[in-house]
Symmetry: C7
């Protein structure tokens, strides 16, 4: 049986609003999401770079992308993804 | 059901008074807060930069901002926020 | 009795499509695979370098290579492999 | 209910006497203190810089300051404080 | 009673074939071997440097050397060895 | 009730004799000492610098200093001391 | 009662023969030794520098020195020793 996504780490550019707690709360409501962490990387005048980690079980990527779009946030890159019944973290070089 | 905020890391500028134990004690009384850590980053003549970590369950951000204001402290940035039934810590690059 | 492969770390070059969640999902369906992590190393115009970690029990390498090929991904090198009833991780120098 | 102080890290300047074991023993006798660690940072001719960590439950700051004063030690800065039913350690940048 | 070898870390030069999964699988079949990890250190045109970690109980070194030879691999150095009923890892300087 | 010393880290200069195992054994016999570690820092022609860690319960400092003296060792500095029913380790800056 | 040596870290110069597995095996047979780790530090033409860690209970130092001598190995320095009913590891500066 196909396994769902368990963990995602995203590099995201967002406007100042919604703020981090608001965006994290919205993401935490998505189907299959158990927890969200957003960390600030850099603040510019109109935007901020953040690193978003999402963990859960069969995370609904479609809804996640929609929520990002609704918040005016653009995903620069997916930096890490984990799939499968065993959660594997990134292997450092 | 919407999940509340579980963890916040704040970059804050504050006057010397109230001192760190006093400010931490006030923050620990806020609804949903289970623990507070304040670490000194830099002392200047009239102000000090501190890093505040707050953990709990459905932390009341409104009260938190009010308490900060009452203490003359200004939040420079929210550096990290965690939301959801699973507490996710920051992913290092 | 011959032991199967328990863990693989691969250095892979892939086109942008399928994206990381899609590729990880396909790899997670392979016989003997319990978990997959894909981490982004570098993005170029048409391709991206990724580091893929696969864990499981008697991972079917033949299917793994076929799936990579189907996705247009080429394995640059096998950086780490673990075999045996005890899972041994890489020893740092 | 107001929570007491659980952990303090202090940057302190002290004369050579009382020595570290003596000062630590005195601090350990203060109300609410469960453990004390004193680490030497630098020795000068007449004074020494030390880093004092105190953990406990509702640590009596008033008594702590009095004890410091009695020992001729001056608190240069409070580098870290933890309050609340959950003990939160410093978040590294 | 004499204790057998519990852990070995080897610095090895090998031809590209057999590849890492194949070599690891062969080594995992040796008497007394419970697990094998092979990590790539450097690839050259005709050869590759690898770091091999073998754990087990009374590892048969004779068979291990024979298997290496059969695979065209030469042991440059034994970087670490553990013997005894308690497995001791390398002490960092 | 006054708490005793639980842990001491000492910077010590000693002659080559008694050697490290002999000195550690003598220190381990002191009242209240449960364990001793001596690490070599630097060897000179007639002396060696060592770092001594002693853990226990109500370590008898008087006896410890006497034993050091008997062995011709001089305590350059007490680098760390822990007192109290909870053993607190050094807080890194 | 006098406590025995629990842990030793030695800086040793040895000829190429006996090799590491052979030397480790011989050391593991000494009275009071539960485990031995030998790590290679540097290889020269006729000799090699190794770091030997021995753990056990009341390790017989006399036999250890004899075995070293029998193997043509010379102990350059004892870098660490632990004695007592509680095993204390080296404290980093």
């Amino acid at each position: 049986m196909e396994q769902g996504v368990r963990r995602l780490v995203l590099d995201v550019l967002k406007p100042h609003e919604p703020d981090l707690p608001e965006l994290a709360t919205r993401l935490s409501c998505i189907d299959g999401v158990d927890g969200v962490n957003i960390s600030l990387v850099e603040i510019d005048q109109d935007t901020e770079s953040v690193r978003i980690t999402v963990e859960g079980d069969r995370i609904n990527l479609h809804n996640l992308k929609d929520t990002m779009k609704d918040c005016g946030a653009s995903i620069h890159s997916i930096d890490e993804v984990s799939v499968g019944k065993k959660l594997i973290k990134k292997t450092l070089t």
